[in-house]
């Protein structure tokens, strides 16, 4: 898996996550009406300077853009050919600019601080009759299930290959999902046994306002 987070600390790591998220929201609204590709290109250069200021690891992450390139090229050619080249250049640089800026936040913010920023937004869940701790637990469950599922799939695939000598087929999926659902039900039983409740707890901690 390609890890998103840059493990070496930089100045951008110290900026609070909420501020960074606010900044990309404002920026995305600001660049939307800009139609001059030269202004956008200047912004793109500025973003690349920020990448350079974060060190070599950050610059190496620019390679993550590679899968986006064929699509952007197709859009540029189509738009330049059908409409005008300056408009094509503007939309491509705008997309590159925003993708690079938003990726900066992902590279320099831990998942935990992102979840912490979300917590106040999710607090009203209690009023909908849901336990406000659910989103964080759900995210943790997903991150734990993914490697479990991948290794379960690998076992099935190896057995299939040993039997047939062919690449994994869609025939493996139904029983794979049926087994995964069984595993999920066992996890649910384990959570229930540990007193987890999807409804907000009726007990209040001392100092909590009811």
């Amino acid at each position: 898996m390609i890890a998103g987070y840059l493990a070496c600390p930089t100045w951008l790591h110290r900026v609070p996550a909420g501020l960074k998220l606010g900044a990309i929201t404002v920026l995305s609204l600001l660049v939307l009406p800009v139609m001059d590709w030269r202004v956008l290109a200047a912004g793109l250069v500025l973003v690349l300077v920020i990448y350079a200021s974060l060190g070599r690891e950050a610059l190496r992450r620019l390679a993550l853009l590679k899968p986006l390139m064929p699509l952007l090229l197709a859009i540029a050619l189509l738009q330049g050919w059908l409409e005008a080249w300056p408009a094509a250049a503007a939309s491509i640089t705008r997309i590159l600019l925003m993708v690079l800026v938003a990726s900066l936040v992902t590279f320099t913010t831990t998942m935990q601080s992102m979840i912490d920023v979300l917590a106040p937004v999710l607090a009203p869940l209690r009023r909908l009759g849901l336990n406000p701790r659910m989103p964080a637990l759900a995210i943790a469950l997903v991150l734990r299930f993914v490697p479990v599922l991948l290794s379960a799939w690998q076992q099935r695939e190896e057995a299939w290959r040993a039997r047939t000598g062919r690449r994994a087929s869609i025939r493996l999926i139904p029983s794979f999902i049926a087994e995964a659902l069984r595993m999920a039900d066992q996890v649910a039983e384990a959570l229930d046994a540990r007193g987890f409740n999807t409804r907000p707890s009726v007990h209040h901690l001392p100092g909590d306002k009811p």
Partner: protein, 185 residues
């Protein structure tokens, strides 16, 4: 929402992620064309979990991607995805999975495989493409007709996945299918 439903929502978000990260899978129905199976996971979420939990699973998956986990097909992830030209296809999964679930539930008399494939074509392709094309127009300023034309390149692969959804659902043990769609007391 019971604990059981809650864990199944998390499980399906993980299944969507896992199917996107797997090496390509052979589809025997299409002369063995290899495809990535991520959208297959989205269609299956609508059919097997129903509209409400299916949508929750997709929202959870998109949230985990936004938080920085590289779980999209090909190992992409992070906030950058949400400013790329294909963002509409990603966000379109939410209404897409709801429509898929609603249509599958609307035809309980049909064989499960057939209604699952039909629901996947209407919800998983029709609705998702509508959102995806709108996203292309908004992010790139392409004219609508051209954006629609450009999206057609992905249509054959997605049609195969909708049919594959039907094949998978038909082959699921009936007990798993029932337990997945009937709410537990």
């Amino acid at each position: 929402m019971t604990t059981r439903e809650f864990v199944r929502v998390a499980l399906f978000a993980a299944i969507i992620a896992a199917l996107g990260l797997l090496p390509k899978i052979d589809l025997p129905i299409a002369a063995g064309v290899p495809v990535t199976a991520q959208t297959l996971g989205v269609m299956l979420a609508g059919v097997l979990l129903g509209p409400r939990s299916g949508a929750a699973a997709v929202v959870l998956f998109i949230a985990v991607v936004a938080l920085g986990a590289p779980l999209l097909a090909g190992g992409r992830g992070g906030l950058g995805v949400f400013f790329g030209p294909t963002v509409g296809f990603l966000l379109g999964w939410v209404p897409g999975v709801i429509v898929t679930g609603l249509i599958f539930r609307a035809f309980p008399k049909l064989p499960a495989g057939i209604s699952a494939a039909a629901a996947s074509i209407l919800g998983g392709i029709g609705v998702v493409y509508a959102c995806g094309i709108a996203g292309l127009v908004l992010t790139t300023g392409m004219p609508l007709a051209k954006a629609a034309l450009a999206s057609l390149t992905f249509l054959p692969g997605d049609l195969l996945k909708a049919i594959a959804t039907g094949v998978v659902v038909a082959a699921m043990p009936a007990s798993a299918r029932m337990r997945a769609s009937v709410p537990q007391p």
